[in-house]
Subunit: 423 residues, 2 copies
């Protein structure tokens, strides 16, 4: 296609604004609230899910399993059969998290009673929301829905969330971007590795939390849930920080910057700044990676979750060079291969964010602002580090790997963009 | 000099034993006890100090300042003048930490009432000891001796140490080598950067500590002292772990492995396994590095402290390639320069320790077992990351940098070794 010089300048200017907003954003965690308190549109029978829109009958196994679990967790049904009936009869109103300023890992369930982190983008005033990470193993984000899963979610709702909310408020909020910047110097890329970030978050509220739990019999359980038992605790915070950041770059006319990448286990979808909240979707790919002992590719569910929002700000797969220890976990080859991934992402982004330097890349900033036209021109697809879910609901994570979005969605988005620009 | 083939084999075998002991060692933190409880030889007027032996009149400013502070802390004198008089009259018995299985950073004071970490080398049964890190700024390890310093030391003794001791015991002890291994994947080299290691240590006892402080008004102070206020908290734990490890490699006949490197601010000293506890000393060098705002080389005290014990096991400067964020702090140039330092240390050591892999060097183990004959043959001196003290007592740290031991001590040690071997 021919290049229109005016358009190029217009697009460049729009993209400059987009990345300036991304880089100027300050995502502050201000509390933990029940979902129904922060989403005015939420009803007792509302459920938000990961990825672009998807109908019940088209959902993958883990997503259906998670819906069944969320319905039971809310007491809307007692059994799996009752829950399925509600879904089939259209009694549950479901929609993507991204429609509500929210994100969730893997199946990404957010229902009425679930506590969500509340993050304010202090620079632009918008908010982002995400649930609390449940930990590893049998968890709802991988489609598990048994008693153990629901009991843990009730503990998060009734025990952890109120204490955490108070500690966060007492600490005066937590600047998540500062933690992300520090953790990049501590071996995390914040998609498949959040060891340092989880500890840095914990340290920030450690004193206040110790006061909140003082004298409680479950003090140890509460402290260890955050500080010790879950190396991926910060994943959901990295996601909600990224969501609050990326939403500030939405709806900039003429901008080709990707504002969201997301998967529902069946389709991969993106939003583009200049094209509002329109989804461009295509079937998801299967991650390539390493499987936990006893599992193979045969067991894997295709790519799923809103967690790819972290790659939109330049972390996750984009910052793999910061996290040599994740290389073996996701099967990315050598450390130098990981550094090359981080370097190559600069070819499809608008800029590098000097506020998020990568020490292992001589303090070069992370690649920021995925540009659909650069993706199409170079043929380089965004690199994503991801967990791999079992395709059957309830089994959980079976591996971790690397995945790319389908090229088709960038082509279609660019076509729509050109049309929109009158080209 | 001619090589004696029998000797070479004998030395190689001895060095193999030395590094096998280093690598098999498991340093477990088992508690925190007052110094006089763990050192049977300690009297009320005993003070242990960093480095090889040094007389009062020959000590540098910060070392003299620290002695004055320690004497006042113990209530042996009320004023500086009284403390100086006690030293001049020979009323204080002082000796190097290393003579007592102990280490201390910078001036390295250990006096009668000070609490010390107790680390057991579970593999070989020997013990190591080190004080609790005081934090940054005006502290005794840099020679400060005012009321603020002594008040903080009393708080460590009376408040923190008993609580920490209970939490450590309740947690069943803490394997410090595991933490060191993890922190190498999280941007620490554990001499000038201990951010991750400090948090990893804290996480290990977080639940138990929350129970110990429950209901206390100073719960927040105690938790934050460890979790939040001092990124170098783990330095003293890395040192005592290294001491407990290295002492297991002492006194192996025919071994040329360095078992301790240490500085008293005037002289740099080493011990060599096959030569027992004999010190080989020469004047210390001045670190080359970066100074905090307002300070220059003019303000710097020469190289000081027992902290170089960490380089003996292969961390600190030897593992600088793991800690890209430390590169700017110590003025080591680029990340690739740091990686080259870590690589070059392999030329003067007996082996690489696969249990302490460096992710940034494609998981190559740290260089372990400094061999005096290799140092002399290659002319490559061990690389040390170090803090720089102000030369006047009481001002504190003024910078950080890189330093090497004087070559003379390796030459003299090798000469003594050859003589000992009858060569």
């Amino acid at each position: 296609m021919e290049k229109d010089e005016n358009c190029l300048t217009r697009v460049e200017q729009a993209n400059k604004i987009a990345v300036e907003r991304i880089m100027a954003s300050q995502p502050i965690l201000i509390g933990v609230k029940p979902a129904h308190e922060v989403f005015p549109e939420m009803k007792k029978n509302s459920i938000f899910h990961a990825g672009p829109p998807v109908a019940w009958r088209d959902m993958c196994g883990p997503m259906q399993g998670a819906f069944i679990g969320a319905i039971r967790y809310e007491g809307l049904a007692q059994t799996e059969e009752e829950a399925v009936a509600l879904m089939e009869q259209g009694k549950i109103e479901y929609s993507p998290n991204h429609n509500h300023g929210a994100v969730g890992p893997m199946t990404g369930m957010i229902s009425y009673s679930m506590p969500v982190f509340v993050v304010k983008n202090e620079t632009y005033g918008n908010y982002g929301y995400c649930t609390i990470n449940e930990g590893l193993g049998e968890v709802m984000r991988f489609g598990a829905n048994g008693e153990k899963v629901i009991t843990r979610l009730k503990w998060l709702e009734q025990v952890l969330a109120p204490v955490l909310d108070k500690a966060i408020k007492k600490a005066g909020g937590v600047n998540l971007k500062n933690i992300i910047a520090q953790a990049l110097a501590m071996g995390d890329e914040m998609h498949q590795r959040n060891v340092a970030a989880s500890l840095l978050f914990y340290r920030t509220i450690s004193g206040e939390l110790s006061q909140e739990v003082a004298g409680r019999e479950d003090a140890k359980d509460i402290v260890e849930f955050i500080a010790k038992k879950n190396d991926q605790f910060f994943l959901n915070l990295a996601m909600v920080a990224s969501k609050a950041i990326m939403d500030s770059a939405r709806d900039i006319p003429h901008s080709t910057v990707v504002t969201a990448m997301s998967r529902n286990g069946v389709e991969f979808g993106i939003n583009v700044s200049g094209l509002g909240s329109r989804w461009f979707t295509a079937p998801v790919n299967m991650p390539e990676g390493l499987y936990f002992p006893g599992y193979t590719e045969e067991d894997a569910n295709p790519d799923m979750g809103d967690s790819t929002i972290v790659e939109c700000i330049g972390i996750g797969g984009f910052a793999m060079g910061c996290a040599p220890a994740v290389v073996n976990f996701v099967g990315a080859g050598s450390v130098s291969a990981a550094i090359k991934y981080s370097e190559s992402m600069g070819e499809i982004t608008v800029t590098r964010n000097a506020n998020l330097p990568m020490p292992n890349l001589n303090f070069q900033g992370v690649a920021t602002g995925i540009d659909i036209s650069k993706v199409v021109e170079t043929g380089i697809l965004p690199i994503i580090n991801t967990g791999i879910a079992h395709k059957k609901p309830g089994i959980g994570q079976v591996g971790a790997g690397i995945v790319r979005p389908p090229m088709k969605i960038f082509l279609e988005a660019l076509r729509a963009f050109m049309k929109n620009e009158g080209l």
